[in-house]
């Protein structure tokens, strides 16, 4: 890894803000988090990404103070806050399904935290106006939460959280309840907000696209372990195991054999690659993204097969190709009709070689970075 890579940037320039040390948590005897270690830096957009039940929300709630870890420590700005009540932590949360106070109007909702701090009225009013402007909802002061659309409520929830000027904003799947178009709009909105406020965002989602779009840093979690962390580009292009590869984007994950450095045998055909250090004649898994599979004439390909299905997806065609006894997923702007014989070619740097786990369980073992 080289320092020029975008994911590296933060590590050098930014100060450490939150550190989770050996956090474990179980509910009813079921392990949710197992010895989790994580460092979050200042002014970073960090996303905890994973399927439901992976422990991402629990991690967020432990940072927010709504859950107490069974063991381990939470360090915030150099201070141990593991036992600090949520109201004493310098961070605010945007909850799933907004959690607005339905008995208060918008202004009262936003002012809630400030009134608790006994701020002067003028200050509060200024803050309300500022926050509403920030989330593009000026003039909504005296509406009731139930009369607002989902997207608007979400903005209010954000406004309510940021007027307290937290150092960190925790967002728990904040866009989960919105429809697709609104979700995309809000994604840009959140990036803009983060840049304007200049604070740390910790964002929880199960939507890999959302994570890739917004984050500076992604933490992929599964079954209570961190599977991989890094910049979006790194996570996408260099998944470290089959779980990450499968979870982030569509991919062809194929069992293969590493013949030697820079040469891998996939489905009986030998492909050139760029990976080294896996040994010789070792079983491995390879990941090939569908858009990286090139369809050529049968005689020109490393492997030959037949197109079995074609679906038009607007920007590209999605094709299934039967080759070497494996059904390949292929994305291409060039159409190959169903039934055509084709050859498959992959550029060496598009083949990502991974260690194959010995057993099912090993897949879940933490990969500390």
């Amino acid at each position: 890894m080289s320092p020029e890579e975008p994911g590296w940037r933060w590590d050098l320039n930014r100060k450490e803000l939150i550190r989770l040390e050996h956090i474990s948590k179980s509910f009813d005897g079921q392990m949710i988090l197992d010895d989790l270690n994580l460092v979050i830096h200042e002014n970073e957009f960090v996303t905890l990404l994973g399927p439901s039940g992976c422990g991402k929300t629990t991690t967020l709630r432990i940072i927010g103070g709504f859950e107490h870890p069974d063991s381990g420590r939470v360090i915030f700005d150099g201070e141990d806050i593991t036992n600090l009540a949520p109201n004493r932590r310098q961070l605010n949360t945007v909850f799933q399904k907004y959690a607005l106070f339905t008995h208060m109007d918008i202004a009262e909702n936003i002012a809630f935290g400030l009134k608790i701090q006994n701020k002067p009225e003028d200050y509060i009013n200024d803050k309300i106006r500022y926050a509403l402007k920030l989330v593009n909802l000026e003039g909504y002061e005296h509406r009731m939460p139930d009369s607002l659309s989902g997207g608007q409520q979400q903005r209010i929830a954000i406004a309510r959280a940021i007027v307290c000027e937290p150092k960190v904003l925790l967002l728990d799947e904040p866009l989960g309840a919105l429809d697709l178009k609104l979700r995309q709009e809000m994604q840009y909105e959140l990036i803009r907000l983060k840049n304007e406020l200049g604070i740390t965002f910790i964002y929880v989602t199960h939507d890999q696209e959302e994570a890739l779009t917004m984050s500076d840093h992604i933490v992929v979690m599964n079954q209570g372990y961190i599977q991989q962390e890094g910049s979006p580009e790194k996570i996408y292009n260099e998944p470290e195991n089959a779980f990450v590869a499968d979870f982030i984007g569509d991919s062809n994950i194929i069992p293969a054999t590493m013949v030697r450095d820079r040469l891998v045998r996939i489905l009986g055909a030998e492909f050139a690659c760029v990976d080294t250090g896996f040994g010789t004649e070792k079983p491995v898994d390879v990941v090939i993204r569908p858009e990286d599979v090139e369809l050529v004439k049968p005689e020109e390909g490393t492997l030959s097969g037949k197109v079995t299905e074609v679906i038009f997806k607007g920007v590209h065609y999605e094709m299934s190709v039967m080759a070497g006894g494996f059904e390949w997923l292929v994305h291409s702007t060039k159409l190959s009709e169903s039934g055509t014989d084709v050859g498959i070619r992959v550029d060496p740097f598009n083949i990502q070689v991974m260690n194959r786990p010995e057993s099912e369980d090993e897949e879940a073992i933490g990969v500390d970075v």
Binding site: G65, F66, R88, R89, Q96, A99, T102, H103, I116, A161
Partner: protein
């Protein structure tokens, strides 16, 4: 929806007739009797009779005891409902069922139980004297009536409070903590206001039956303490003065209507929110 308007009308007509005969007409009769004298002439005397000292006192005492009972029920029930809701006890679960179970037991048997307990030589006093403690003389006093009311109507307070508290999204409470409110502030600024619908319906469900009861006061008050319910009951079963009884019932209904309006307003506000 499932039938055209004509069929619907035919189908709805039996109940419409039923409601007319058994709900509206009887209610009208209370007003008829309440507003006429024995000869059928219009009079307001039966309603004005509430200002007679003995009626006024019965009404005042009924109001006082029912307000006290409602307040006691509220303060006893709120923590119970909070604890049940907080621990996310299922509404069909064992613990909730146990708290509602006495409600299913016959109302008079529940009251009878307290007669047995509170009697001068009853269970409580026997226990107290065994412990060489001074005996209590509660039976046949307003205190006994309040105990009876609280005991009988407590589940009616717990249930709606529990329902409205368990409906509060846990994250709303977390949000308040997150925004800097401590537990006390969270309770008064968020939890309490959000449980207002439950409070209102709980109060209605306790206050109305407590205000209008006559069985509890007869059984635990030793017929010594007349509440407005007893006065009305006696006008019908003892004094045989339907007009006066109906007139006093109208007065009683005024309180019910006031209560109804208050709960309707809260409900509407809920809907608007």
């Amino acid at each position: 929806m499932f039938s055209d308007r004509k069929t619907s009308r035919v189908m709805a007509s039996p109940y419409a007739a039923w409601a007319l005969i058994f709900i509206l007409v009887p209610l009208g009769m209370i007003f008829y009797y309440g507003l006429t004298d024995e000869t059928g002439r219009f009079t307001l005397a039966n309603i004005a009779a509430i200002s007679q000292p003995e009626h006024l006192k019965a009404l005042g005492l009924a109001l006082l005891l029912s307000v006290i009972s409602t307040a006691v029920c509220f303060f006893l029930a709120y923590p119970v409902a909070m604890i049940l809701a907080k621990n996310r006890v299922s509404s069909q679960g064992l613990i909730t069922t146990l708290f509602i179970l006495p409600m299913w037991m016959n109302f008079l048997l529940r009251t009878l139980a307290w007669m047995t307990l509170l009697e001068n030589k009853g269970v409580i006093n026997t226990a107290l004297s065994l412990l060489h403690l001074p005996e209590l003389n509660i039976i046949n006093t307003p205190a006994a009536i309040v105990i009876g009311m609280v005991y009988n109507f407590l589940p009616f307070m717990i249930l709606p409070l529990y329902n409205s508290l368990s409906r509060i999204d846990e994250n709303v409470i977390n949000a308040a903590r997150d925004l800097g409110a401590n537990e006390v502030q969270t309770f008064f600024r968020v939890i309490l206001p959000l449980s207002v619908p439950g409070i209102v319906s709980g109060i209605t469900m306790v206050f109305i039956p407590a205000l209008t009861t006559f069985a509890i006061s007869t059984m635990l008050g030793g017929s010594k303490i007349l509440l407005i319910g007893n006065v009305i009951e006696q006008e019908f079963t003892l004094s045989y003065n339907w007009n006066l009884g109906a007139g006093l019932s109208i007065v009683l209904m005024i309180f019910i209507i006031v209560n109804m309006v208050i709960s309707a307003i809260t409900e509407r506000r809920e809907e608007e929110d």
